[in-house]
Subunit: 319 residues, 2 copies
Protein backbone atom coordinates (compact mmCIF):
# COMPACT_ATOMS: atom_id res chain seq x y z
CA UNK A 1 0.00 0.00 0.00
CA UNK A 2 1.39 3.39 -1.03
CA UNK A 3 1.18 6.08 1.63
CA UNK A 4 2.13 9.72 2.25
CA UNK A 5 3.06 11.31 5.57
CA UNK A 6 2.11 14.96 6.19
CA UNK A 7 4.47 16.59 8.70
CA UNK A 8 8.08 15.70 9.46
CA UNK A 9 8.20 16.75 13.11
CA UNK A 10 8.86 14.57 16.15
CA UNK A 11 5.98 12.12 15.45
CA UNK A 12 6.29 12.26 11.66
CA UNK A 13 9.95 11.20 11.81
CA UNK A 14 8.93 8.25 14.00
CA UNK A 15 6.23 7.20 11.51
CA UNK A 16 8.68 7.43 8.60
CA UNK A 17 11.32 5.45 10.55
CA UNK A 18 8.90 2.58 11.29
CA UNK A 19 7.27 2.54 7.84
CA UNK A 20 10.66 2.22 6.11
CA UNK A 21 11.15 -1.12 7.91
CA UNK A 22 7.77 -2.58 6.82
CA UNK A 23 7.53 -4.34 3.49
CA UNK A 24 3.73 -4.04 3.31
CA UNK A 25 3.95 -0.22 3.43
CA UNK A 26 5.52 1.87 0.66
CA UNK A 27 6.18 5.47 1.70
CA UNK A 28 6.08 7.56 -1.47
CA UNK A 29 5.72 11.20 -0.28
CA UNK A 30 6.49 13.35 2.76
CA UNK A 31 4.78 16.72 2.93
CA UNK A 32 6.89 19.33 4.70
CA UNK A 33 9.08 22.29 3.97
CA UNK A 34 11.98 21.20 1.75
CA UNK A 35 14.57 22.54 4.19
CA UNK A 36 13.52 19.83 6.66
CA UNK A 37 14.55 17.03 4.33
CA UNK A 38 16.59 14.08 5.36
CA UNK A 39 19.37 13.51 2.79
CA UNK A 40 18.44 9.89 2.19
CA UNK A 41 14.77 10.77 1.72
CA UNK A 42 15.15 13.95 -0.33
CA UNK A 43 13.24 12.56 -3.32
CA UNK A 44 10.17 11.90 -1.19
CA UNK A 45 9.74 15.49 0.03
CA UNK A 46 7.22 17.88 -1.43
CA UNK A 47 5.69 21.16 -0.22
CA UNK A 48 2.84 20.91 -2.73
CA UNK A 49 -0.11 19.11 -1.12
CA UNK A 50 -1.91 18.71 -4.47
CA UNK A 51 0.91 16.47 -5.68
CA UNK A 52 -0.21 14.03 -2.99
CA UNK A 53 -3.98 14.53 -3.22
CA UNK A 54 -3.98 14.12 -6.99
CA UNK A 55 -1.74 11.04 -7.03
CA UNK A 56 -4.22 8.17 -7.42
CA UNK A 57 -1.61 5.57 -6.49
CA UNK A 58 -1.48 6.94 -2.91
CA UNK A 59 -4.15 5.07 -0.96
CA UNK A 60 -3.52 6.38 2.54
CA UNK A 61 -2.50 9.68 4.14
CA UNK A 62 -1.03 10.06 7.64
CA UNK A 63 -1.53 13.55 9.10
CA UNK A 64 0.84 14.55 11.90
CA UNK A 65 0.95 18.28 11.20
CA UNK A 66 -0.97 19.40 14.28
CA UNK A 67 -3.02 22.60 14.38
CA UNK A 68 -6.66 22.87 13.37
CA UNK A 69 -7.68 24.81 10.27
CA UNK A 70 -5.21 23.44 7.70
CA UNK A 71 -5.34 19.91 9.18
CA UNK A 72 -9.15 19.88 9.03
CA UNK A 73 -9.14 21.06 5.39
CA UNK A 74 -6.59 18.37 4.49
CA UNK A 75 -8.70 15.70 6.23
CA UNK A 76 -11.72 16.64 4.11
CA UNK A 77 -9.65 16.87 0.92
CA UNK A 78 -7.93 13.53 1.50
CA UNK A 79 -11.16 11.69 2.29
CA UNK A 80 -13.06 13.19 -0.66
CA UNK A 81 -10.10 12.15 -2.84
CA UNK A 82 -10.91 8.57 -1.64
CA UNK A 83 -7.80 8.19 0.50
CA UNK A 84 -7.78 6.47 3.89
CA UNK A 85 -6.95 9.04 6.56
CA UNK A 86 -4.93 8.37 9.73
CA UNK A 87 -4.40 11.17 12.22
CA UNK A 88 -3.06 11.86 15.72
CA UNK A 89 -4.73 15.29 15.79
CA UNK A 90 -6.85 15.47 19.00
CA UNK A 91 -8.28 18.88 18.14
CA UNK A 92 -9.62 17.82 14.75
CA UNK A 93 -10.87 14.46 16.09
CA UNK A 94 -12.59 15.92 19.19
CA UNK A 95 -14.35 18.63 17.16
CA UNK A 96 -15.16 16.77 13.96
CA UNK A 97 -15.21 13.02 14.68
CA UNK A 98 -18.83 12.63 13.55
CA UNK A 99 -18.50 14.77 10.41
CA UNK A 100 -15.26 13.07 9.30
CA UNK A 101 -16.51 9.53 10.12
CA UNK A 102 -19.65 10.19 8.05
CA UNK A 103 -17.61 11.64 5.18
CA UNK A 104 -15.29 8.60 5.29
CA UNK A 105 -18.27 6.21 5.11
CA UNK A 106 -19.66 8.17 2.14
CA UNK A 107 -16.30 7.92 0.38
CA UNK A 108 -15.69 4.24 1.24
CA UNK A 109 -12.45 4.93 3.11
CA UNK A 110 -11.26 4.56 6.70
CA UNK A 111 -10.83 7.44 9.14
CA UNK A 112 -8.56 6.26 11.99
CA UNK A 113 -7.37 8.24 15.01
CA UNK A 114 -6.02 5.74 17.57
CA UNK A 115 -3.02 7.94 18.40
CA UNK A 116 -5.26 10.92 19.25
CA UNK A 117 -6.37 9.39 22.59
CA UNK A 118 -4.26 7.56 25.17
CA UNK A 119 -0.97 7.59 23.23
CA UNK A 120 0.06 4.01 22.49
CA UNK A 121 -3.01 2.44 24.19
CA UNK A 122 -5.24 0.88 21.51
CA UNK A 123 -8.27 2.34 23.29
CA UNK A 124 -10.31 3.37 20.23
CA UNK A 125 -10.25 -0.15 18.75
CA UNK A 126 -10.89 -1.83 22.10
CA UNK A 127 -13.68 0.52 23.15
CA UNK A 128 -15.40 0.09 19.75
CA UNK A 129 -15.16 -3.71 20.14
CA UNK A 130 -16.42 -3.64 23.74
CA UNK A 131 -19.50 -1.58 22.80
CA UNK A 132 -20.60 -4.29 20.34
CA UNK A 133 -21.18 -6.79 23.15
CA UNK A 134 -21.38 -4.72 26.34
CA UNK A 135 -23.06 -1.65 27.75
CA UNK A 136 -20.47 0.93 28.89
CA UNK A 137 -21.33 2.44 32.28
CA UNK A 138 -18.25 4.51 33.16
CA UNK A 139 -14.90 5.64 31.73
CA UNK A 140 -12.08 6.91 33.96
CA UNK A 141 -8.70 7.97 32.64
CA UNK A 142 -5.29 9.45 33.13
CA UNK A 143 -5.00 10.70 29.56
CA UNK A 144 -2.45 13.49 29.68
CA UNK A 145 1.22 12.60 29.91
CA UNK A 146 2.42 16.13 30.75
CA UNK A 147 0.26 16.61 33.86
CA UNK A 148 0.78 13.03 35.04
CA UNK A 149 4.54 13.52 34.73
CA UNK A 150 4.33 16.75 36.77
CA UNK A 151 2.27 15.12 39.56
CA UNK A 152 4.67 12.12 39.63
CA UNK A 153 7.61 14.48 40.21
CA UNK A 154 5.69 16.50 42.83
CA UNK A 155 5.10 13.26 44.77
CA UNK A 156 8.93 13.16 44.96
CA UNK A 157 8.87 16.68 46.46
CA UNK A 158 9.57 18.72 43.31
CA UNK A 159 7.82 22.11 43.27
CA UNK A 160 5.22 22.59 40.50
CA UNK A 161 7.60 24.91 38.64
CA UNK A 162 10.55 22.50 38.85
CA UNK A 163 8.37 19.57 37.81
CA UNK A 164 7.11 21.49 34.77
CA UNK A 165 10.67 22.47 33.83
CA UNK A 166 11.77 18.83 34.13
CA UNK A 167 8.84 17.71 31.93
CA UNK A 168 9.88 20.25 29.28
CA UNK A 169 13.51 19.11 29.42
CA UNK A 170 12.49 15.45 29.02
CA UNK A 171 10.29 16.31 26.04
CA UNK A 172 7.02 15.46 27.85
CA UNK A 173 5.69 19.04 27.86
CA UNK A 174 5.34 21.47 24.97
CA UNK A 175 7.00 24.88 25.11
CA UNK A 176 3.50 26.33 25.65
CA UNK A 177 1.84 23.69 27.84
CA UNK A 178 -1.23 25.74 28.86
CA UNK A 179 -3.51 23.44 26.88
CA UNK A 180 -2.44 20.45 28.97
CA UNK A 181 -2.30 22.36 32.28
CA UNK A 182 -5.76 23.93 31.89
CA UNK A 183 -7.28 20.48 31.30
CA UNK A 184 -8.44 21.15 27.72
CA UNK A 185 -6.38 18.24 26.36
CA UNK A 186 -8.06 15.71 28.68
CA UNK A 187 -11.48 17.30 28.06
CA UNK A 188 -11.04 16.62 24.35
CA UNK A 189 -9.93 13.04 24.96
CA UNK A 190 -12.75 12.11 27.34
CA UNK A 191 -15.15 13.71 24.83
CA UNK A 192 -13.79 11.43 22.04
CA UNK A 193 -14.16 8.30 24.23
CA UNK A 194 -17.68 9.29 25.35
CA UNK A 195 -18.70 9.82 21.73
CA UNK A 196 -17.47 6.28 20.94
CA UNK A 197 -19.03 4.68 24.04
CA UNK A 198 -22.46 6.26 23.84
CA UNK A 199 -22.65 7.58 20.29
CA UNK A 200 -23.41 11.09 21.58
CA UNK A 201 -21.80 14.34 20.53
CA UNK A 202 -20.21 15.95 23.61
CA UNK A 203 -20.06 19.73 24.00
CA UNK A 204 -16.59 20.22 25.51
CA UNK A 205 -17.69 23.52 27.09
CA UNK A 206 -20.11 21.60 29.32
CA UNK A 207 -17.35 19.51 30.98
CA UNK A 208 -16.75 20.38 34.64
CA UNK A 209 -13.01 20.96 35.08
CA UNK A 210 -10.24 22.44 37.18
CA UNK A 211 -6.72 23.26 35.92
CA UNK A 212 -3.91 21.05 37.23
CA UNK A 213 -2.31 24.19 38.76
CA UNK A 214 -4.91 23.81 41.58
CA UNK A 215 -2.49 21.17 42.90
CA UNK A 216 -0.75 24.07 44.67
CA UNK A 217 -3.73 24.29 47.08
CA UNK A 218 -3.22 20.69 48.29
CA UNK A 219 -0.94 19.50 51.08
CA UNK A 220 0.78 16.65 49.23
CA UNK A 221 2.73 15.46 52.29
CA UNK A 222 -0.52 15.05 54.24
CA UNK A 223 -2.11 13.16 51.32
CA UNK A 224 0.94 10.88 51.16
CA UNK A 225 0.73 10.19 54.93
CA UNK A 226 -2.91 9.16 54.46
CA UNK A 227 -1.66 6.54 51.95
CA UNK A 228 -3.19 8.41 49.05
CA UNK A 229 -1.88 9.84 45.77
CA UNK A 230 -3.18 12.96 44.03
CA UNK A 231 -3.93 12.33 40.35
CA UNK A 232 -5.37 14.45 37.52
CA UNK A 233 -8.21 12.39 36.18
CA UNK A 234 -11.01 12.55 33.61
CA UNK A 235 -14.30 10.74 34.12
CA UNK A 236 -17.46 10.08 32.13
CA UNK A 237 -20.42 8.31 33.73
CA UNK A 238 -23.77 7.42 32.20
CA UNK A 239 -26.56 7.70 34.77
CA UNK A 240 -30.01 7.04 33.36
CA UNK A 241 -29.79 8.76 29.99
CA UNK A 242 -27.43 11.53 31.08
CA UNK A 243 -23.65 11.61 30.67
CA UNK A 244 -21.69 13.37 33.41
CA UNK A 245 -18.15 14.47 32.54
CA UNK A 246 -15.35 15.93 34.61
CA UNK A 247 -11.60 16.65 34.65
CA UNK A 248 -10.45 16.89 38.27
CA UNK A 249 -7.70 16.41 40.85
CA UNK A 250 -8.57 13.35 42.94
CA UNK A 251 -6.77 11.90 46.01
CA UNK A 252 -6.81 8.16 45.24
CA UNK A 253 -6.18 5.39 47.80
CA UNK A 254 -2.77 3.77 47.22
CA UNK A 255 -4.45 0.42 46.53
CA UNK A 256 -6.20 2.02 43.54
CA UNK A 257 -4.53 0.92 40.31
CA UNK A 258 -4.55 4.46 38.89
CA UNK A 259 -2.43 5.74 41.80
CA UNK A 260 0.43 3.63 40.34
CA UNK A 261 0.28 5.07 36.81
CA UNK A 262 3.34 7.30 36.81
CA UNK A 263 5.40 9.62 34.61
CA UNK A 264 4.33 9.75 30.96
CA UNK A 265 2.08 6.67 31.20
CA UNK A 266 -1.64 6.86 30.43
CA UNK A 267 -4.42 4.58 31.68
CA UNK A 268 -8.09 4.05 30.89
CA UNK A 269 -10.61 2.11 32.99
CA UNK A 270 -13.74 0.99 31.14
CA UNK A 271 -16.60 -0.29 33.29
CA UNK A 272 -19.13 -2.46 31.46
CA UNK A 273 -22.12 -4.75 31.82
CA UNK A 274 -21.90 -7.74 31.75
CA UNK A 275 -18.13 -8.16 31.24
CA UNK A 276 -17.10 -6.02 34.24
CA UNK A 277 -14.11 -3.72 34.50
CA UNK A 278 -11.21 -3.40 32.01
CA UNK A 279 -7.97 -1.47 32.45
CA UNK A 280 -5.65 -0.47 29.60
CA UNK A 281 -2.23 1.08 30.29
CA UNK A 282 0.48 2.33 27.91
CA UNK A 283 2.86 5.18 27.16
CA UNK A 284 1.08 8.47 26.59
CA UNK A 285 3.91 10.30 24.86
CA UNK A 286 7.15 9.90 22.95
CA UNK A 287 8.03 9.90 19.25
CA UNK A 288 8.36 6.19 18.46
CA UNK A 289 5.57 4.98 20.83
CA UNK A 290 3.06 7.42 19.30
CA UNK A 291 4.31 6.56 15.80
CA UNK A 292 3.78 2.84 16.58
CA UNK A 293 0.10 3.56 17.36
CA UNK A 294 -0.24 5.35 14.01
CA UNK A 295 1.39 2.47 12.12
CA UNK A 296 -1.04 0.15 13.99
CA UNK A 297 -3.88 2.06 12.31
CA UNK A 298 -2.20 1.61 8.91
CA UNK A 299 -2.10 -2.16 9.48
CA UNK A 300 -5.75 -2.16 10.53
CA UNK A 301 -6.64 -0.53 7.24
CA UNK A 302 -4.32 -2.86 5.35
CA UNK A 303 -6.24 -5.77 6.83
CA UNK A 304 -9.63 -4.13 6.34
CA UNK A 305 -10.27 -4.64 9.99
CA UNK A 306 -11.86 -1.25 10.46
CA UNK A 307 -15.59 -1.80 10.67
CA UNK A 308 -16.58 1.19 8.58
CA UNK A 309 -14.27 0.17 5.79
CA UNK A 310 -15.62 -3.34 5.79
CA UNK A 311 -19.19 -2.14 5.59
CA UNK A 312 -18.43 0.31 2.86
CA UNK A 313 -16.32 -2.01 0.74
CA UNK A 314 -19.33 -4.29 0.68
CA UNK A 315 -21.69 -1.47 -0.20
CA UNK A 316 -19.20 -0.41 -2.82
CA UNK A 317 -19.21 -3.87 -4.37
CA UNK A 318 -23.00 -4.05 -4.45
CA UNK A 319 -23.40 -0.68 -6.21
Amino acid sequence: MKIAVLGYGVIGRGVVEICLTKKEIELVKIFDRKEKFDKQLIDLFTDNIDEILNDDSIELIVEVLGGYDFAKRIAIDAITHHKHFVTANKEVVAKDIDELSFLARQNCVAFCYEASVGGTIPIVKNLKALTLVNEITKITGILNGTTNYILSRMKENFSFEDALLDAKQKGFAESNPSFDLEGFDMMRKIAILSDLAWNTKIDIKQIKHVPVTEVKKYNLKKISKEKKTLKYICEATKIDQEIHLSVQLVALENDDLLSHINDEYNAVIIETKPAGKFVFVGKGAGSLPTAAAIVGDIYDILHQRVLDVYYNKNLYKIQ
Copy 2:
Protein backbone atom coordinates in the same frame (compact mmCIF):
# COMPACT_ATOMS: atom_id res chain seq x y z
CA MET B 1 -25.14 -15.21 10.82
CA LYS B 2 -26.50 -18.57 11.96
CA ILE B 3 -24.57 -20.17 14.81
CA ALA B 4 -24.62 -23.27 17.06
CA VAL B 5 -23.39 -23.48 20.66
CA LEU B 6 -21.86 -26.76 21.88
CA GLY B 7 -22.26 -27.15 25.65
CA TYR B 8 -24.94 -25.68 27.89
CA GLY B 9 -22.94 -25.39 31.11
CA VAL B 10 -22.04 -22.22 33.02
CA ILE B 11 -20.30 -20.49 30.06
CA GLY B 12 -22.65 -21.91 27.40
CA ARG B 13 -25.70 -20.47 29.15
CA GLY B 14 -23.96 -17.07 29.23
CA VAL B 15 -23.19 -17.24 25.49
CA VAL B 16 -26.81 -18.22 24.71
CA GLU B 17 -28.15 -15.42 26.95
CA ILE B 18 -26.06 -12.74 25.20
CA CYS B 19 -26.60 -14.08 21.66
CA LEU B 20 -30.38 -14.01 22.10
CA THR B 21 -30.16 -10.23 22.58
CA LYS B 22 -28.11 -9.60 19.40
CA LYS B 23 -29.95 -9.15 16.13
CA GLU B 24 -26.88 -9.90 14.00
CA ILE B 25 -26.56 -13.40 15.53
CA GLU B 26 -29.15 -16.14 14.99
CA LEU B 27 -28.73 -19.05 17.42
CA VAL B 28 -30.18 -22.11 15.67
CA LYS B 29 -28.82 -25.12 17.61
CA ILE B 30 -27.56 -25.98 21.10
CA PHE B 31 -25.67 -29.25 21.47
CA ASP B 32 -26.18 -30.86 24.89
CA ARG B 33 -28.08 -33.63 26.59
CA LYS B 34 -31.84 -33.06 26.10
CA GLU B 35 -32.50 -33.17 29.84
CA LYS B 36 -30.55 -29.94 30.20
CA PHE B 37 -32.95 -28.01 27.99
CA ASP B 38 -34.41 -24.68 28.88
CA LYS B 39 -38.19 -24.73 28.24
CA GLN B 40 -38.15 -21.65 26.01
CA LEU B 41 -35.25 -23.05 23.96
CA ILE B 42 -36.38 -26.70 23.71
CA ASP B 43 -36.58 -26.65 19.90
CA LEU B 44 -32.94 -25.61 19.62
CA PHE B 45 -31.53 -28.58 21.55
CA THR B 46 -29.95 -31.59 19.89
CA ASP B 47 -27.67 -34.36 21.10
CA ASN B 48 -26.73 -35.32 17.54
CA ILE B 49 -23.58 -33.42 16.52
CA ASP B 50 -23.98 -34.38 12.84
CA GLU B 51 -27.21 -32.41 12.70
CA ILE B 52 -25.07 -29.32 13.30
CA LEU B 53 -22.02 -30.28 11.21
CA ASN B 54 -24.15 -31.19 8.19
CA ASP B 55 -26.36 -28.10 8.35
CA ASP B 56 -24.82 -25.83 5.69
CA SER B 57 -26.76 -22.81 6.95
CA ILE B 58 -24.77 -22.84 10.19
CA GLU B 59 -21.68 -20.70 9.56
CA LEU B 60 -20.14 -20.64 13.03
CA ILE B 61 -19.74 -23.05 15.96
CA VAL B 62 -19.01 -22.02 19.56
CA GLU B 63 -17.40 -24.83 21.61
CA VAL B 64 -17.72 -24.53 25.38
CA LEU B 65 -17.80 -28.25 26.21
CA GLY B 66 -14.37 -28.42 27.88
CA GLY B 67 -12.29 -31.60 27.93
CA TYR B 68 -9.79 -32.57 25.25
CA ASP B 69 -10.46 -35.58 23.00
CA PHE B 70 -14.06 -34.95 21.93
CA ALA B 71 -13.52 -31.17 21.77
CA LYS B 72 -10.44 -31.59 19.54
CA ARG B 73 -12.32 -33.94 17.19
CA ILE B 74 -15.22 -31.47 16.96
CA ALA B 75 -12.80 -28.62 16.24
CA ILE B 76 -11.36 -30.53 13.27
CA ASP B 77 -14.81 -31.63 12.06
CA ALA B 78 -16.27 -28.12 12.30
CA ILE B 79 -13.37 -26.49 10.49
CA THR B 80 -13.26 -29.12 7.72
CA HIS B 81 -17.02 -28.59 7.31
CA HIS B 82 -16.08 -24.92 6.55
CA LYS B 83 -17.51 -23.50 9.76
CA HIS B 84 -15.85 -20.71 11.75
CA PHE B 85 -14.81 -22.11 15.12
CA VAL B 86 -14.81 -20.15 18.41
CA THR B 87 -13.57 -21.84 21.58
CA ALA B 88 -12.70 -21.12 25.21
CA ASN B 89 -10.90 -24.48 25.53
CA LYS B 90 -7.38 -23.78 26.88
CA GLU B 91 -6.29 -27.40 26.60
CA VAL B 92 -7.15 -27.72 22.92
CA VAL B 93 -5.74 -24.27 22.10
CA ALA B 94 -2.46 -24.74 24.02
CA LYS B 95 -1.82 -28.14 22.43
CA ASP B 96 -3.10 -27.60 18.92
CA ILE B 97 -3.08 -23.86 18.15
CA ASP B 98 -0.73 -24.29 15.17
CA GLU B 99 -2.48 -27.32 13.70
CA LEU B 100 -5.96 -25.78 14.04
CA SER B 101 -4.86 -22.35 12.77
CA PHE B 102 -3.32 -24.00 9.70
CA LEU B 103 -6.43 -26.14 9.12
CA ALA B 104 -8.63 -23.03 9.43
CA ARG B 105 -6.51 -21.20 6.84
CA GLN B 106 -6.78 -24.18 4.50
CA ASN B 107 -10.56 -24.21 4.89
CA CYS B 108 -11.00 -20.43 4.61
CA VAL B 109 -12.58 -20.06 8.04
CA ALA B 110 -11.63 -18.33 11.31
CA PHE B 111 -10.33 -20.12 14.41
CA CYS B 112 -10.79 -17.79 17.41
CA TYR B 113 -9.90 -18.45 21.04
CA GLU B 114 -9.89 -15.10 22.85
CA ALA B 115 -11.68 -16.55 25.91
CA SER B 116 -9.04 -19.27 26.35
CA VAL B 117 -6.45 -16.81 27.76
CA GLY B 118 -6.99 -13.99 30.23
CA GLY B 119 -10.78 -14.34 30.57
CA THR B 120 -12.41 -11.13 29.35
CA ILE B 121 -9.12 -9.43 28.42
CA PRO B 122 -8.89 -9.11 24.62
CA ILE B 123 -5.25 -10.19 24.81
CA VAL B 124 -5.12 -12.43 21.72
CA LYS B 125 -6.37 -9.65 19.42
CA ASN B 126 -4.18 -6.99 21.04
CA LEU B 127 -1.04 -9.12 21.10
CA LYS B 128 -1.53 -10.09 17.43
CA ALA B 129 -1.92 -6.39 16.54
CA LEU B 130 1.11 -5.35 18.61
CA THR B 131 3.36 -7.92 16.92
CA LEU B 132 2.63 -6.38 13.50
CA VAL B 133 4.37 -3.13 14.46
CA ASN B 134 6.53 -3.99 17.49
CA GLU B 135 9.02 -6.53 18.71
CA ILE B 136 7.78 -8.26 21.88
CA THR B 137 10.52 -8.58 24.51
CA LYS B 138 8.65 -9.88 27.57
CA ILE B 139 5.22 -11.07 28.73
CA THR B 140 4.24 -11.17 32.40
CA GLY B 141 0.84 -12.27 33.62
CA ILE B 142 -1.57 -13.12 36.38
CA LEU B 143 -3.62 -15.47 34.25
CA ASN B 144 -5.38 -17.78 36.70
CA GLY B 145 -8.41 -16.45 38.59
CA THR B 146 -8.54 -19.34 41.09
CA THR B 147 -5.00 -18.94 42.45
CA ASN B 148 -5.15 -15.14 42.40
CA TYR B 149 -8.40 -15.30 44.38
CA ILE B 150 -6.76 -17.62 46.94
CA LEU B 151 -3.69 -15.36 47.38
CA SER B 152 -5.96 -12.29 47.70
CA ARG B 153 -7.85 -13.97 50.59
CA MET B 154 -4.59 -15.14 52.22
CA LYS B 155 -3.40 -11.51 52.26
CA GLU B 156 -6.49 -10.95 54.47
CA ASN B 157 -5.22 -13.71 56.80
CA PHE B 158 -7.31 -16.63 55.48
CA SER B 159 -5.51 -20.00 55.66
CA PHE B 160 -4.81 -21.68 52.31
CA GLU B 161 -7.58 -24.22 52.98
CA ASP B 162 -10.18 -21.59 53.93
CA ALA B 163 -9.24 -19.44 50.92
CA LEU B 164 -9.66 -22.43 48.58
CA LEU B 165 -13.02 -23.28 50.16
CA ASP B 166 -14.15 -19.66 49.73
CA ALA B 167 -13.06 -19.70 46.06
CA LYS B 168 -15.09 -22.87 45.49
CA GLN B 169 -18.15 -21.37 47.19
CA LYS B 170 -17.93 -18.19 45.07
CA GLY B 171 -17.64 -20.24 41.88
CA PHE B 172 -14.02 -19.20 41.18
CA ALA B 173 -12.53 -22.69 41.70
CA GLU B 174 -13.55 -25.98 40.15
CA SER B 175 -14.49 -28.94 42.34
CA ASN B 176 -11.14 -30.50 41.33
CA PRO B 177 -8.86 -27.47 41.18
CA SER B 178 -5.53 -29.34 40.97
CA PHE B 179 -4.97 -28.13 37.42
CA ASP B 180 -5.04 -24.51 38.56
CA LEU B 181 -3.12 -25.13 41.81
CA GLU B 182 -0.30 -27.09 40.16
CA GLY B 183 0.28 -24.24 37.70
CA PHE B 184 -0.66 -26.22 34.56
CA ASP B 185 -3.43 -23.75 33.66
CA MET B 186 -1.02 -20.79 33.64
CA MET B 187 1.63 -22.85 31.83
CA ARG B 188 -0.85 -23.44 29.01
CA LYS B 189 -1.81 -19.79 28.86
CA ILE B 190 1.75 -18.39 28.79
CA ALA B 191 2.51 -21.00 26.10
CA ILE B 192 -0.38 -19.69 23.97
CA LEU B 193 0.79 -16.06 24.35
CA SER B 194 4.43 -16.98 23.61
CA ASP B 195 3.34 -18.82 20.46
CA LEU B 196 1.50 -15.66 19.32
CA ALA B 197 4.32 -13.28 20.28
CA TRP B 198 7.24 -15.19 18.79
CA ASN B 199 5.59 -17.66 16.43
CA THR B 200 7.29 -20.57 18.21
CA LYS B 201 5.71 -23.78 19.42
CA ILE B 202 6.27 -24.05 23.19
CA ASP B 203 6.74 -27.43 24.86
CA ILE B 204 4.76 -27.00 28.08
CA LYS B 205 6.87 -29.65 29.82
CA GLN B 206 9.92 -27.35 29.54
CA ILE B 207 8.33 -24.54 31.59
CA LYS B 208 9.95 -24.02 35.01
CA HIS B 209 7.15 -23.99 37.58
CA VAL B 210 6.16 -24.35 41.23
CA PRO B 211 2.64 -25.17 42.47
CA VAL B 212 0.79 -22.35 44.26
CA THR B 213 0.64 -24.56 47.37
CA GLU B 214 4.29 -23.53 47.97
CA VAL B 215 2.74 -20.35 49.40
CA LYS B 216 2.57 -22.26 52.70
CA LYS B 217 6.35 -21.94 52.97
CA TYR B 218 6.23 -18.12 52.95
CA ASN B 219 5.75 -15.80 55.91
CA LEU B 220 3.00 -13.59 54.45
CA LYS B 221 2.92 -11.22 57.43
CA LYS B 222 6.63 -10.51 56.99
CA ILE B 223 6.16 -9.94 53.25
CA SER B 224 3.30 -7.54 54.01
CA LYS B 225 5.45 -5.61 56.53
CA GLU B 226 8.11 -5.22 53.84
CA LYS B 227 5.43 -3.50 51.72
CA LYS B 228 5.32 -6.41 49.30
CA THR B 229 2.60 -8.74 48.01
CA LEU B 230 3.05 -12.39 47.03
CA LYS B 231 1.59 -13.15 43.59
CA TYR B 232 1.45 -16.27 41.40
CA ILE B 233 2.86 -15.12 38.10
CA CYS B 234 3.78 -16.45 34.67
CA GLU B 235 6.60 -14.95 32.64
CA ALA B 236 8.05 -15.35 29.16
CA THR B 237 11.18 -13.47 28.13
CA LYS B 238 13.03 -13.52 24.83
CA ILE B 239 16.77 -13.20 25.36
CA ASP B 240 18.78 -13.43 22.16
CA GLN B 241 16.93 -16.17 20.30
CA GLU B 242 15.87 -18.14 23.37
CA ILE B 243 12.53 -17.95 25.16
CA HIS B 244 12.59 -18.42 28.93
CA LEU B 245 9.30 -19.37 30.59
CA SER B 246 8.28 -19.73 34.22
CA VAL B 247 5.28 -19.98 36.55
CA GLN B 248 6.33 -18.82 40.03
CA LEU B 249 5.42 -17.19 43.33
CA VAL B 250 6.96 -13.70 43.40
CA ALA B 251 6.99 -11.10 46.20
CA LEU B 252 6.20 -7.88 44.32
CA GLU B 253 6.77 -4.36 45.66
CA ASN B 254 3.46 -2.69 46.52
CA ASP B 255 4.11 0.02 43.95
CA ASP B 256 4.10 -2.69 41.25
CA LEU B 257 0.84 -2.59 39.32
CA LEU B 258 0.45 -6.38 39.45
CA SER B 259 0.42 -6.34 43.27
CA HIS B 260 -2.98 -4.58 43.01
CA ILE B 261 -4.64 -7.16 40.72
CA ASN B 262 -6.94 -8.91 43.17
CA ASP B 263 -9.62 -11.59 43.42
CA GLU B 264 -10.71 -13.09 40.10
CA TYR B 265 -9.04 -10.38 38.01
CA ASN B 266 -6.34 -11.24 35.43
CA ALA B 267 -3.60 -8.98 34.08
CA VAL B 268 -1.05 -9.15 31.28
CA ILE B 269 1.97 -6.90 30.83
CA ILE B 270 3.44 -6.82 27.32
CA GLU B 271 6.85 -5.20 26.93
CA THR B 272 7.71 -4.07 23.41
CA LYS B 273 10.13 -2.13 21.25
CA PRO B 274 9.59 0.66 20.29
CA ALA B 275 6.14 1.26 21.82
CA GLY B 276 7.16 0.43 25.42
CA LYS B 277 5.08 -1.30 28.04
CA PHE B 278 1.36 -2.16 27.85
CA VAL B 279 -0.88 -3.45 30.64
CA PHE B 280 -4.26 -5.11 30.09
CA VAL B 281 -6.56 -5.97 33.02
CA GLY B 282 -9.98 -7.65 33.14
CA LYS B 283 -12.07 -10.31 34.83
CA GLY B 284 -10.54 -13.79 34.55
CA ALA B 285 -13.62 -15.77 35.44
CA GLY B 286 -17.41 -15.70 35.61
CA SER B 287 -20.16 -16.90 33.30
CA LEU B 288 -21.27 -13.67 31.59
CA PRO B 289 -17.81 -12.03 31.46
CA THR B 290 -16.29 -15.10 29.75
CA ALA B 291 -19.34 -15.37 27.49
CA ALA B 292 -18.88 -11.70 26.51
CA ALA B 293 -15.32 -12.49 25.33
CA ILE B 294 -16.68 -15.35 23.20
CA VAL B 295 -19.37 -13.14 21.67
CA GLY B 296 -16.60 -10.60 20.96
CA ASP B 297 -14.95 -13.27 18.78
CA ILE B 298 -18.26 -13.85 16.96
CA TYR B 299 -18.44 -10.12 16.16
CA ASP B 300 -14.83 -10.16 14.95
CA ILE B 301 -15.73 -12.89 12.51
CA LEU B 302 -18.95 -11.14 11.54
CA HIS B 303 -16.88 -8.13 10.60
CA GLN B 304 -14.15 -10.17 8.92
CA ARG B 305 -11.67 -8.52 11.17
CA VAL B 306 -9.73 -11.68 11.79
CA LEU B 307 -6.64 -11.47 9.64
CA ASP B 308 -6.66 -15.07 8.49
CA VAL B 309 -10.27 -14.85 7.41
CA TYR B 310 -9.60 -11.73 5.41
CA TYR B 311 -6.66 -13.28 3.64
CA ASN B 312 -8.50 -16.47 2.91
CA LYS B 313 -11.73 -14.91 1.74
CA ASN B 314 -9.66 -13.09 -0.83
CA LEU B 315 -7.83 -16.26 -1.83
CA TYR B 316 -11.19 -17.96 -1.95
CA LYS B 317 -12.53 -15.37 -4.37
CA ILE B 318 -9.53 -15.65 -6.64
CA GLN B 319 -9.74 -19.42 -6.95
